[in-house]
């Protein structure tokens, strides 16, 4: 077991434990901050796998964007933190069956897939390759995603604007 193994298990424990807290805690703010730790742990594992760009994007998008907005929403909403967010009825059996099937599928895919293994060194950076592929092989998907984001942005702006005019009336 070398240093990297120890670091991997550290990040893995952080991820799993905080993910467990996310679903079990009664306090929605604790949940949100545990989610921060989960996302951070995953990004640490990305770094260990040599995916530096993906790791930074993970922090940028999930921690810097989505999680901050989530926290912002939670804190702006009055008294939401004292509300019990867990539902009263707990369907233990369907939940167990569902997650069991999902686990089985994932396990099967992982064991049966013929993974390609290379004996090369992990590249020091992935951004150059990633950038080239994005504007050559996957340019159509890339542009479509950009279009989708633009539509979402215009939609959000128009919804916000409509509310404003109603208030004025």
């Amino acid at each position: 077991m070398n240093y990297f193994d120890i670091i991997f298990y550290l990040f893995a424990i952080i991820t799993v434990v905080s993910a467990f807290i996310v679903v079990t805690t009664r306090n929605i703010v604790y949940s949100a901050y545990s989610l921060l730790l989960t996302l951070f742990g995953i990004s640490g594992i990305y770094v260990l796998l040599g995916a530096d760009f993906l790791a930074v994007v993970q922090i940028m998008v999930y921690v810097g964007g989505i999680l901050i907005l989530l926290l912002f929403g939670v804190m702006l909403t009055n008294k939401i933190t004292s509300v019990d967010i867990r539902t009263g009825t707990i369907h233990l059996l369907p939940a167990a069956v569902g997650s069991g099937i999902l686990l089985g599928i994932l396990w099967a895919v992982m064991t049966w897939t013929d993974w390609k293994t290379y004996d090369t060194q992990i590249p020091s950076t992935t951004i150059f390759g990633l950038g080239k592929i994005l504007i050559t092989n996957y340019v159509l998907i890339f542009e479509l995603l950009a279009l989708l984001l633009l539509i979402a942005l215009i939609g959000a702006a128009s919804i916000a604007r409509r509310e404003e005019t109603e208030e004025n009336n």
Binding site: M60, V63, I68, M75, T81
Partner: protein, 355 residues
Amino acid sequence: MYQALYNLTSNTIISTLIVALVPLTLILLYALFAIWLERKVSAHMQDRLGPMRTGWHGWLQTIADMIKMIQKEDTIAADADKKLFNIAPVLVFAGSFAAFAAIPFSSAIIGSEIEVGLFYIIAISSLVVAGILMAGWSSNNKYSLLGAMRSAAQIVSYEIPTALVVLTMVMYTGTLSLDKISQQQTAYFWNWNLFGGPEFGLAKFILIPFMLVAFIIMFISTLAEVNRTPFDIPEAESELVAGYFTEYSGMKWGMFMLSEYANMFAVSSIVSILFLGGYQSPFGYLGNTLGIEWLVPIEQLFWFVSKTLFFVFVQMWLRWTLPRLRVDQLMTVCWKYLIPYAVANLIIVGIVTLL
């Protein structure tokens, strides 16, 4: 730096620890100096003397204050959320400290030579926002919560013009690595990105005004990101006591203060790396002229620290000169002026670079 230390000690753990300790030491030393400087700058701007009694012109004042701070009682409000209240200062400081890992202090002193350095710094500073929100919420106090909300809204909004200017510079320099950006702007000051970059030609002269615009946008938005005046509504002392760290005392308050000064240094260093050549000297190196090779990194450290401290000084200068903006003015400046100009600038610089 890591590789050199690894060759010296041949132990991964020891060399990693030393690499991590260097920026921490620098931050602590710098914070001691910067807090004293802030007091002196503010005092002289208001025609006062500032701290004078501890040491020569009061230079030991910060150390005396620190000893006082360590002795202070660590109070936690009865209704505060104790766990989050205790974690928040650590998270805020961790966010600002982590940014220092990728900053090249000189060609020899870099924590990590990662290729995505610039992007990493922008991303990791979002931990500060999470920490500020945590501090504001867990204090269970309306002023703290309001301060945290304002701070988060401000930082998230002003991240957009910053990111757009950074994108402009990345397009122009073709790399995300802070070390490579510094290296490109070789030894003389007319090669700095502010003056159109190292390549001499027509494009250089066309680019100068746009680089100036980019520089001003970057400076304003980084000022807002570290919550300094005129953008300090999160801790507006006349309205909100002290904003998100109202309830904190002793060393925890000290960590917020340390983090604020560390952030000031970090954003100033990014501005100086992107536009003013980072650690490159404006007049060539004495070490190269005299043929002493080990002198060059030390000179580089000197130039880097001077440029960065200059921007820190400008931030202090502005704090004691300009009045505070209102919330709506703050958002107007960001969304109606800075972002459109930054986008236009991005497109123009892109076209010029392409041609």
